[in-house]
Amino acid sequence: MNWFPTLRVFLSHGGRDFFRHKTLSLLNLLALTVGVAAIVAIQTVNETALRSFRASLDLVAGRPDFTIEGQGFRLPEKLILLLRNDPAVREVTPTIQLVASLPDHPGEFLHLVGVDPFSNQELVTYHLEDALRSPTDAIAFVSESDTIALTRPLADRLHLRPGDTLRAVSAGHQANLRVRFMLEPSSDLLGADDHLAIADIATVQSSFGLGGQIDRIEALLRPDASGKITAVRSSLLERLAPNLPAHARAGSPERRGQEVEKMLGAFQLNLTALSLIALVVGMFLVTNTVAANVARRRAELGLLRSLGLDRRSVIILIVGESLLLALLGAGLGIFLGLQVARILLQSVSSTVTSHYVLLSMKDIIVNPWSLLGAGLAGLLAAGLAAWWPAREASLVSPMDALQPGNSADRASSPQSPFLRASLLCLFFTLLFSATALYARIPRTGFLAALGILLAAAFLAPVFGRLLGGLPSPPIASGKLAHSAFLRGLHRHGLAAAALSVAVAMAIGVTIMVHSFRATVDQWIGESIKADLFIAPSTNLIAGALEPLDPQAETLALATPGVRAVGTYREIRLFLNGTPAKLAACRLEILRAYNPLTFLSTLPGDPYELCQKGDFAIISENFARRRQIKPGDTVFLPTPTGTHPLQVAAIFRDYTSESGLLLLDRSTYRRLTQDQGLTSLAIHLEPGISPKTVGDSLREQLRPRGEFLVYSQAGLRDEALRIFDRSFAVTALLRTLAIAVAALGVTLSLTALGVERTREIGILRATGASRNQILRTIMIEAAYLGATGISIGLVTGFAVALILMQVINRAFFGWTIDWHTPYPSLLGIILGMMIACLLASLPPAWRASRLSPAEALRSE
């Protein structure tokens, strides 16, 4: 085989062919572009999230060999002495960090990090520039108790000039900080949060009443004789272990990044899976187009074969053409994907912040490798999609291909293989559902979803034939369309398959999101009983868990009309290596005003158990994910040691993806020594207006910093707003898949239109009117739409079931009550049908415009 000449033919011939059949080629291109764009957008957003997080982490912590950090609670600063005197430690430095609200700049906040510039010199990845003096007077940084360094973007945004002061509030402490230094991250820390601010550790401790506390310890180690630090680190860890507080987590700093990746993993996998569906739908379309192309160019391929082109070259020619087109599609897709990523950025950023970790993304970070990956995925998809029709074309004997006649409508392919493949996919769906649920390999849940989608795809041609078995519409164009649809099933089968995949996904996701939202809404209605809620604004803006001003509780209790004040403290930590949320409430208030929905309990009253002893209540998803039931013990690491807590009850909760461990406030305070509160829930006397009390509280709290005071309805709206934002990307991807499927309809009908030029010519010559042709093709589109949508509808329910009962259960463990969103489903069905008919218009119009003579003329 000789590659070069094949390539020559391909370039001189295939290229010109592209331009001769622009519409088909462009649709093909578009299908791939959308698929690649979806992948690029999601990958880029995911990548940006991780890189931004890492850059912020690196900026704060540098790149140490060893870190100790307190999870949930701060560390005592004396801990640093353990490292300072250890021979393995070359350098050790503390950091303390907090999120402070800026009362004079509503909506903004500082992520303030206290550092020791004397001991962090080898670790720092930023540079401080004295904005007041040159050369830099570094002494001011350590000796003046109010000096801070801001990033330039933040300083510009807040209109702060060097020397200006900035009022910052955290946990009831207010400080006037003076902007003196500019914080310049080193160039590789692209994407670090510009809310970062640096001050001397003494400044942070003394300004915010945090004497004696630090958040992290970073250390550089001395390599051993072989120049490695792994062994040094583990022996250091062994030495330190007996002296570390229970809640301290020590080890390599990569761990932290990995934990975040793990935390975001489910979220990102979800998005990635959805983006791949767009590509899968795109693949169907490519197969379809290539098959159409091959059919159209049958004679031409026969000629090339007769002139001595061998079979492999035929495959190379066809796959190569498809790849060249895909190359263009991938390029466009990358471009488009990056634009989409920019649009998605804010939504993903807020979602990650409200569910996982503080994250602020300003612009996308483009990783050339992942772009290349997405491009290659597009090429691979196109290559695979073209392979099958190409192989088929190569098997056609040149002699047959050269026979004149209508080559397009071949004898229909047998049904049984499709049915068998469909059943096989169904089997895999069940298998992977089982592995996700019972073998606890959550990721296989996505394979189950893919399985059901493929099962639907394989069913499409079979179902199309069934549909064709029904009597045809009793008009001429109806009869024509009916037979045309049946004869065109070899082409329509693929379009219907693509359509059914897209519809199934759209319907599945719609049902799932709707059910989830309805469940959460109902739960909010049942579980939010208080009339007013107060929280520091930073917790909403920045997703922080900063404690509230302790005075707020006193103020609220003293406000007339207030009957009771419930308190809430929330901490994020790792239990047995997986993230979890620890919360503390005044359970007596909860019981009296806002009882929990228990799913199972120990004998006795769970509230009383928790108020009296070391008992805890856990959320349903906490129980499911960790396989814990009432009576079991959970070990809670705190600054005072690891405390065994017996599970008193399981309750329903939707506030934490990772699961919630709820304690009574007295137990929490006794075990953790943490007096902080994250928010207050205020219950009013009957007949008192929440608005009046809310306004009064807002007024009283104003001088103490920035607070958010919500009414019951306001909190519900806020919760649902966060919910909707979390699914915004899902909705967008759903739309993309539907758009690709609609393109498929156009593509399929355009291809058939080209194949049937002669046939249409004959029809026209024998007296069919333009309108009849137009109608015929539109009815054919309706057949196609009905096939795809019917299968998609049924499969959609199965997809919803898998999303809720397999993927949700395996990853999150929530209970989602089934709610069928009939109006939305009807909307999708009608919308898709209309999309099909609209998609058929261009090819139908073109076919009806053909002049009979031209159509009959042989090429």
């Binding site: 011939h13 062919d17 007769s306 002139l307 001595g308 079979r311 002699m399 050269l402």
Partner: protein, 221 residues
Amino acid sequence: MLETRDLHKSYEAGEARVDALRGITLKILPGEIVSITGPSGCGKSTLLHILGALDTPTSGQAYLEGHPLHSLSDDKLTALRRLKIGFVFQFFHLLPTLTVEENILLPLLLSGRVNSPARTRARELLATVGLSDRSHHRPHQLSGGQLQRAALARALIHQPSILLADEPTGNLDSTSSSMVIDLITRLARQEKTTVVLVTHSEEIARTADRRIALVDGRIQS
């Protein structure tokens, strides 16, 4: 040169079985111009396709310059077509996207032999078939006779040892027909190419050195 022994070919057409060839034994010498005639469905195109390595017999043997066409793999047959065989079809089959000259060079392009002598030869052939002024036109700008003359040039560009023509004048008017047939015979003699010509026209059959008449898949003697 070309030899067949007891060649049989049958097709499955739905339920029915069609025996297109029922034992053809023939010998064609180098440089000979042979016509195959017969009524529709007598198997003449099938025979031509087997001789042209486009199809394989159900049984019997066929040899082209000693190559056993009945037992070669598709790749080998493809290679033979590329090097030794030239085709002229009833429906011309020029690629619409290529110019006349590119179409003529196509066989050489496929075997990677396009060079300047090849281009010179293409131009000479174009001149011979009277299409020098049409070399950069696209097929749709040409008349049927011109198309077939271009197809003839393409069939001869790689100096095949055998030229197979399947109803080359089937789609042409009589003026164009005689022009094409004249060219085929003239060029074949000039280049010493063996020609097998399938036709149902008595007139054309008479221009051949020898005539083989087929009826129902057998040679009529």
